[in-house]
Symmetry: C2
Subunit: 339 residues, 2 copies
DNA sequence: TTGTAGGCGTTATCAA
DNA sequence: TTGATAACGCCTACAA
């Protein structure tokens, strides 16, 4: 900036004023001279120096368990897209499900003076961690938006899915097709979302006056392998349909079915959860519960920007409704046999 | 830092010295006092201020066409992981295949004083753009590592796949199974990598003394839809096998086969390219050419760190060898019919 | 062994 | 309509 100032023989103050379009009334002549000089010298403001004095970095920290997981990848895409519209850049970090890294990245990004943080916690994040987490967040006085996996603590903005409704929709669909013995491959018990999906599943059963049989629930771990392991167990229970609490496990079911020569949906109906990209490409295409990722990502950024602008932390949960995508993995159940 | 200095009644210089473990011999007593005070006050250095004076941000810019594309998502994961081991953070941007955004992000990240940039260019990046690109990079004097899609210009470090070899491996595999009429669904003609894959395919044919028939090549656009469209055309040519230049198009082939009642691999053999996550979950699992993404990502970071440390731009191409993953989508061709 | 002073590139306050 | 001058939080010759 000094170069520009020197070139036009004015002070840096004046240069700064016109380059930033400040309301000070500066004569059209000098304004144009400065603009010309800046262009000629190819002047570009040093963002670091600006941040130093304005105390704003136009940067947002994004902390995710694993960006190579399609769900988070999609979320990251949406969030970055939205941020760029606001002139914001995003710093991102993968925690790989380690609570230690949750904290590390939080601190790193805070040290880097990000204007806000959007993060999804690791599964193993416990109640004890919540306290420490809140302490850090409060004392840093930086807005933090939790997405998908949020601590069970008040005073934090969170953007989440109504997992219970999702489980309910899945079960309801199977029920409406006449299925009565429905197996469920649930997720890890320490993942609230997984638990809620199972609850929704139970709710639908209750509503249909079908007694819940815990023998029909296989606890998986969200991996395809666990889905494959679940199938034979469920088959032993004579289920005619399976609700897998995520698509990866449904995928595992597909694999196992191929192995055992069981046809989907003729021999068994399958519903998944998440609607990951590949669901539509399976054979048959997987009927699944979809999360409105785009909407959720946009809401995260909207909340972050609002919090930055207002300077207040904000709070409350923004709950999104999942949608059942009916494709080809389910069919009507008829007494004599499935299909 | 002033707070700490005040608390122990010493100058900020001394505090800075011990907090940064500088070799100055400072008495153990004051050192401990300072450390204690820093901890007590929960002192954390302001990264921005440090960057201001050291002129290093410990930050790297990552510019990708689309992080929700599994290939780039995986790459982003590896790169971030590696960077974090060096104490580096990563700023990332999605260009969505727009050359305009290629430049925008480059400038934004340069303005933010990133220490290095790792980027994959948009497909439509032309030779004219290369010149402007180089100008910017040179004048910014910041190391830029190109990955996957690189400009056809010298003086830039690039980390790429040997696409030609990949196409060669795919064709060779089919050839070794006895196939003679092999269809190829190629990629966009303005994507060098796609062209090279096709070339490798031709090379293998040549080697096997099979005349290349351009009627057996369908030009796709890397989308599943184009793969689906290609199938009937190729079938008209009585091909017994298909090499799809990426897995998405192979996926399209799977879909179309389902539609036409054609069995893979019994009626037709299929080879893909990329080994995206879902390839292993298809029915049958897709035989495909895999890119060593992890190695490539690590190399990018290694090159970036080396360039930062040495202060020199560096140059040269780091070419990685693809690997054929034989799964279940190909089978031996026998005269009377495909197997 | 420790402190003084200057500077990194901007913005902001207040005066001219 | 413009310009001094002082921050912002830290590092680092050089001096003491």
């Amino acid at each position: 900036m000094q170069d520009v100032a020197r070139k036009v023989g004015l002070s840096t103050t004046t240069v700064s004023l016109v380059l930033n379009n400040k309301p000070n009334r500066i004569s059209e002549g000098t304004r144009r001279k400065i603009l010309a000089a800046a262009r000629e010298l190819n002047y570009r403001p040093n963002h670091i120096a600006v941040s130093m004095v304005t105390r704003q970095t136009q940067t947002l920290g994004l902390i995710l368990p694993d960006i190579s997981n399609p769900f988070f990848a999609e979320l990251a895409r949406v969030i970055e897209d939205e941020c760029s519209r606001y002139g914001y850049s995003v710093l991102y970090g993968n925690t790989h499900g380690s609570v230690k890294r949750d904290f590390e990245y939080l601190n790193i990004f805070l040290d880097r003076s990000v204007d806000a943080v959007i993060m999804s916690l690791s599964n193993s994040f416990g109640p004890d961690d919540s306290k420490r987490f809140l302490d850090i967040v409060k004392s840093a006085n930086v807005p933090v938006i939790m997405v998908d996996r949020t601590p069970d603590a008040p005073g934090i903005v969170s953007v989440v899915l109504d997992h219970r409704l999702g489980g309910y929709l899945a079960a309801k669909h199977l029920l409406s097709l006449g299925h009565k013995r429905i197996g469920c491959i649930s997720g890890p018990e320490n993942v609230p979302g997984a638990v809620q999906r199972l609850e929704g599943f139970k709710n639908a059963l209750e509503e249909a006056k079908i007694p819940f049989d815990s023998g029909l629930v296989y606890t998986g771990d969200f991996s395809a392998e666990s889905g494959s392991r679940a199938l034979p167990c469920l088959l032993d229970q004579n289920v005619t349909a399976v609700f897998a609490c995520n698509d990866m496990m449904a995928l595992g079911v597909y694999r196992a079915c191929r192995l055992y020569g069981i046809r989907i949906p003729d021999d068994i109906s399958v519903v998944g959860f998440d609607d990951i990209y590949l669901s539509d490409f399976l054979d048959p295409p997987l009927t699944t519960v979809a999360q409105p990722i785009e909407d959720m990502g946009r809401e995260c950024v909207r909340q972050a920007m609002a919090a930055i602008k207002s300077g207040t932390a904000g709070s409350g949960a923004f709950v999104f409704r999942p949608v059942l995508k009916v494709r080809g993995s389910c069919t009507q159940y008829t007494k004599g046999g499935n299909s």
